[in-house]
Amino acid sequence: MTTVNTVVGPVMGPVMDTAVLALDPLLSGDLDLGIVGIVILKAVVAFTLLLVSVMLMIWFERKLVADMHNRIGPAVAGPFGILQTLADGIKLFFKEDLIPDRADRVVFKLAPYLSLVPAFLVFAIVPIGGDFSSGDGTVTWFGKSTYLQVADPPVGILFFLALSSIAVYGVMLAGWSSGSKYPLLGSVRASAQMISYEAALGLAIAAVFLTSGSLSTHDIVASQVDGSWNVLATGVVPFIVFLVAGTAELNRPPFDLVEAEQELVGGFHTEYSSLRFALFFLAEFMNVITMSAIAVTLFLGGPAGPILTDTLGWVWPVFWFSVKVFAFLFCFVWLRATLPRLRYDQLMDLGWKVLIPVALGWFLLIGAMNVAGDQGWSLVPVVLGGLVVMAGGAALLMGAVAKARAERLAEDSPERDDVPTGGSA
């Protein structure tokens, strides 16, 4: 931590200035038509980029899973089957648009958009480029300097958390409004899972706040220059918690109980067809990409990386950012091809009894280290004391869990007649 603090120290000056301004330099002066144009251009480019990468991501996932299964995968449409997603999209577009008889029509139509809009909006706060190591993370286009992100709200990552809690509505309402049993079960599962893991996700992100000292994504990236990436500065544990909770938040395997085909047909979107189904599908893959982008921003220094050439220097950060995001995408597909699905009780146990306590304990430890740094205390006793307290807490928690399990087993044992209905659910 001491090294981190000394590294962050000198950087904090300019960072704090931008934090107080909390604005893209593009927007700090008077608005004119060119500035409005750049903002619109950024939004359109971000949207197109996301759509194209979704298309490629679906193809990549199918191709990679096929490789891992020793199959060929999509191979007909375009070179290497790269246009398969486009073909599927067009097919979905022309399919019949069904609304079940017992559906709640308004909510049924609303739900796909509640999934899609947050998935896109999250990408707006991700800085996908900009030279942070020698500059202040701005690029100059048409004589105006600006951040390479659509928006940099002062609450930054909280915006991401807010939108991911909105995304729950899309899933939940889709299942409910279908007026059918399987979607309802799937959506109740999905929303329970997303809410449970959102807590662990938020605590992992809070550790990043403590280390970086800001909520804004731009400032979080700026605090990670010189290679002091948050993945090490926060001590790896929040990163792992973030990845596991993020995978669960995305309903990706091995946490895809939401659409467990063997139990639930298709999960919350069973009754959807045509374009509305395509929107859910799009939102799902957009979320995979934005979650990877958020992970890169928070823990892996965002677009940080060596700038190898002087001409077109702004391309390199974008390139490094894409490489890092791609590594995450590969891992998501790898997980899907490798791991079997968890059981529902395992899922809830992992979330509530492991991830949340670990993330909370680590958050408190980092907080204690920050206080020690401010007060000039020696770090060693603080960290050791913190670890001892955490170990005590963990022992208490494990004892309580073991006791509860023993009691439950005693109650469930066949000698007793009054067996409780319902199990661990």
């Binding site: 934090a19 107080v20 301004l21 909390a22 709640d104 308004v106 909510v107 709200p153 002062p154 609450v155 909280l158 915006f159 958390l161 807010a162 991911s164 809690s165 909105i166 729950v168 509505y169 939940m172 309402l173 409910w176 309802l184 109740v188 929303s191 329970a192 809410i195 959102e198 909520l215 804004s216 009691e407 005693a410 109650e411 000698e415 007793r416 007649d417 009054d418 067996v419 409780p420 209905t421």
Partner: protein, 210 residues
């Protein structure tokens, strides 16, 4: 610009509030509530209280209303209700009188004290620059009001423990205290009453059909 944003978000808030009252389906009412909460979040942003706006969406829209929806869906009360029936006699006239007088009070205050809605940031508690907002809120909460914060945390913990205790299924004859329940739960073989037998039968049926 400020006034425009204020008027639009105020309209969103008010239509949402009216929707909560008038929709016959509880799920629709919950959704209108979300709309109102969103409008309030926009109003917070307008007042430079961006942190509050984010928290408003995360906590209220993301947790509280989701819990409402959970309860509505799991209890199966998501059917349209007849609003013509008055559950508590005399409730509506009283509510109308109280609501009208509150409305009159607020309108009077609005007309007497200010020059109409402007949407400008409040003058009583300037929060400084937008980026500074989170820091100042944190400082205020954890220095001046730390006792209240900790008390609230304790209250919430008590509420959680209370909910767990209430939700515990008590086996056998009703026990007055959870301590007693723990003590008897370790004793084996209590005489089973009819209800328990029925439960066991039902479970056996469920297992058979599944």
């Amino acid at each position: 610009m400020d006034a425009f944003v204020f008027l639009v978000s105020a309209a969103i808030v008010l239509t949402g509030a009216v929707g909560v009252l008038t929709s016959r389906n509880p799920v629709h009412a919950a959704l209108f509530l979300v709309q109102t909460l969103f409008g309030v979040a926009v109003l917070f942003v307008l007042q430079d209280a961006t942190f509050l706006a984010a928290v408003q969406v995360i906590v209220y829209a993301g947790a509280v209303v989701i819990l409402f929806l959970f309860v509505i869906m799991l209890l199966g009360v998501d059917r349209a209700e007849d609003l013509g029936v008055e559950p508590i006699v005399g409730q509506r006239p009283v509510a109308a009188v109280i609501g009208a007088s509150l409305m009159g009070l607020l309108l009077t205050l609005l007309l007497v004290a200010t020059d109409g809605p402007t949407g400008a940031p409040g003058r009583t508690a300037p929060l400084g620059d937008a980026g500074d907002n989170t820091r100042r809120l944190g400082e205020a909460l954890f220095t001046g009001h730390v006792f209240a914060v900790e008390l609230t945390a304790l209250l919430l913990t008590v509420a959680v423990v209370g909910a767990v205790v209430l939700a515990r299924t008590v086996k056998g004859p009703l026990q007055p205290l959870p301590v007693v329940v723990v003590a008897t739960a370790t004793e084996p073989d209590e005489p089973a009453d009819e209800g328990a037998e029925e439960e066991a039968e039902e479970e056996a049926k469920e297992e058979g059909s599944a």
